[in-house]
Amino acid sequence: MEVLLVITTILVILPLLIIIYHVVTNGISALNWDLFTEELGSPSRAMQGRPTGLIHTMFGTLVVDFLALAIAVPVGIGAGIMLAEYPEHKLNPLLRIMNDTLNGMPAILKGLFAFALIVKPMGTFSGFAGGVALSFVMIPIIARTTESALMSIPWTIREAGLAIGLPRWRVVLSTVVPAAKTGLVTGILIGFARAAGEAAPLLFTSFGNNYLPNSWIGFLLNPVDTLPQRLYSLAISPYAEWHSMGWAAAIVLLGFVICCFIAARFATREKFNVS
């Protein structure tokens, strides 16, 4: 029986290693400096061998992802604080259910939601809509991990703070949050990594762009290119040159996600000295 279990485990893990292998080997050979300095332009650029790259994608991704963070971190942590620090609040059971529901919803639906909420009224696809869509992906994760991190701090710490006369809000901000900061940051990291890999919500919100915008504000107000969405477009395009750029995009995205994964694992392992 043990042999069967070992074989099965190997069969499950093998595809992962194969995927990583192919992404790395194909991606490395496709990486070049142009990737980080040139825009994509039309397909003819690549086909004719003229310089082409994904710099607009990289910037777009940064803008959209950090906008999403800026929205999701306050909301997620605020909700997490509500759940953990005010456990008696009547809305908490509902909040938990709603948060779990939101968490379990496919990301594509969050994209459709952001489309109706932002793109339609604005009349255009935009980086702003993309950021909002990704924040919908991040928020439930951050709320859940925040609650969990804060709850892991013993109640006695709060009592100690109150006993020396601190108001409740100071107790939370000055004693509980610092104690939980590893868990909080890890939660944000996990949410960020999840959202950074999502393409579906961006297809209907930031939409994509083959060029850099004319001004910085253009990242927010106009359609914008992001790495996951661009990877999708490149992969399904009929141009071999774009396919190889797709592998380059894949290795960048994969590398980023794996770094976040390792960082999150490392952080949570450090908390527990007895393994």
Partner: protein
């Protein structure tokens, strides 16, 4: 909270000192802020359901809810007829098959990690399995397009198709076009992607089986595997089932890898190797180009159906956890 208010109020009555204000106002602002942010989430969840419904209402009104759900014609070009059944069918088949393929391997990995492997190996296995879930769907998609699909075509689909052509031609319609991009490939990729969810919950459930149960089983003369079969797995079954249902929930919502590998055919019948579609895949394929309002509305309505389906699955998982759990409601 109430007690603090009372204390603070009486402090305010006694002396309206700045520090009392600092306490009271600070607490008020802080709690209001937290609650507002918490309420935002509630509003988001409700808002999403509402918006999907409202945007899809036009289509639902046009075809009737059940008409829309069961209609088999999806024609944005000529007839402007939108029936979701092909995509609902595609979703159910691919997700169901993916669950069926992945469930036993996923449980086996959890058992090996929890019961047999030494701690260092267990940690490595767990991390690698969770890494599967962390890989972005588009990355798996591009790998699928350029590596997996051609390999499957050459190693499995074509040989089987050629064999059927020679020996059992009646099977051909069932097999379909073996070019590599289709239902089978999408299902295979899907089954890999959902393994981590079953494995994680199964491992948690296994680890929460009390030592006393294992000891009682051992004392009867059970081998390590017999202990697992007799005492551990039955006790853990609610957790295992919850993991499986959670995996199903993820499978139905999986978008990019499926959209990139499923071949995108909107009309039934689907075949094993041949192209097909799922609810998320058709939305991805058509939304950006959809022009007709009815088309957009229909895609939104599919989103609403997907929402309902995901909600139902999550509720079932929660119900199973509560009903079947022996120690009474282990939280997922």
């Amino acid at each position: 909270m109430a007690r603090n208010d009372q204390q603070a109020d009486s402090q305010m009555d006694l002396k309206k000192s700045p520090s009392a204000l600092y306490h009271w106002l600070g607490d008020r602002i802080f709690s209001s802020l937290s609650v507002t942010l918490g309420i935002t989430i509630i509003l988001l969840a409700l808002g999403m359901a509402w918006v999907l419904f409202a945007e899809g209402a036009a289509a639902l009104r046009e075809f009737g809810f059940f008409g829309f759900l069961t209609g088999t014609t999806w024609d944005p070009a000529v007839q402007l007829q939108f029936g979701t059944w092909p995509f609902l069918f595609g979703t159910l088949i691919t997700s169901g098959a993916a669950l069926a393929i992945s469930i036993f391997p996923a449980i086996a990995v959890a058992i090996f990690s929890a019961e047999y492997a030494p701690r260092w190996l267990s940690a490595i296995i767990d991390n690698l399995v969770q890494l599967i879930a962390a890989i972005p769907s588009v990355v798996i998609g591009i790998w699928g397009i350029f590596v997996l699909a051609p390999w499957l075509r050459d190693t499995i689909y074509m040989p089987v198709y050629l064999w059927a052509e020679a020996s059992m031609p009646a099977l051909l319609p069932l097999l379909g076009n073996p070019i590599g991009y289709g239902m089978a490939t999408a299902t295979i990729v899907l089954s890999l992607m959902i393994v981590p969810y079953t494995t994680a919950l199964t491992k948690d459930a296994i680890r929460s089986v009390p030592v006393a149960q294992r000891e009682a089983s051992r004392a009867l003369g059970a081998t390590r595997w017999e202990v697992i079969r007799m005492a551990v797995l039955p006790y853990a079954r609610s957790g295992i089932m919850a993991g499986a249902i959670l995996s199903l929930g993820r499978a139905i919502g999986e978008t990019m890898a499926v959209a990139m590998l499923i071949g995108n055919k909107n009309t039934l019948p689907f075949s094993i190797f041949g192209a097909g579609a799922t609810m998320p895949s058709v939305i991805v394929n058509e939304f950006r180009e959809a022009v007709e309002n009815l088309h957009v509305s229909s895609l939104m309505a599919i989103g609403f159906v997907l929402f309902i389906l995901a909600l139902v699955i999550n509720l079932i998982a929660a119900y199973i956890t509560r009903k079947l759990s022996i120690s009474g409601g282990q939280t997922i």
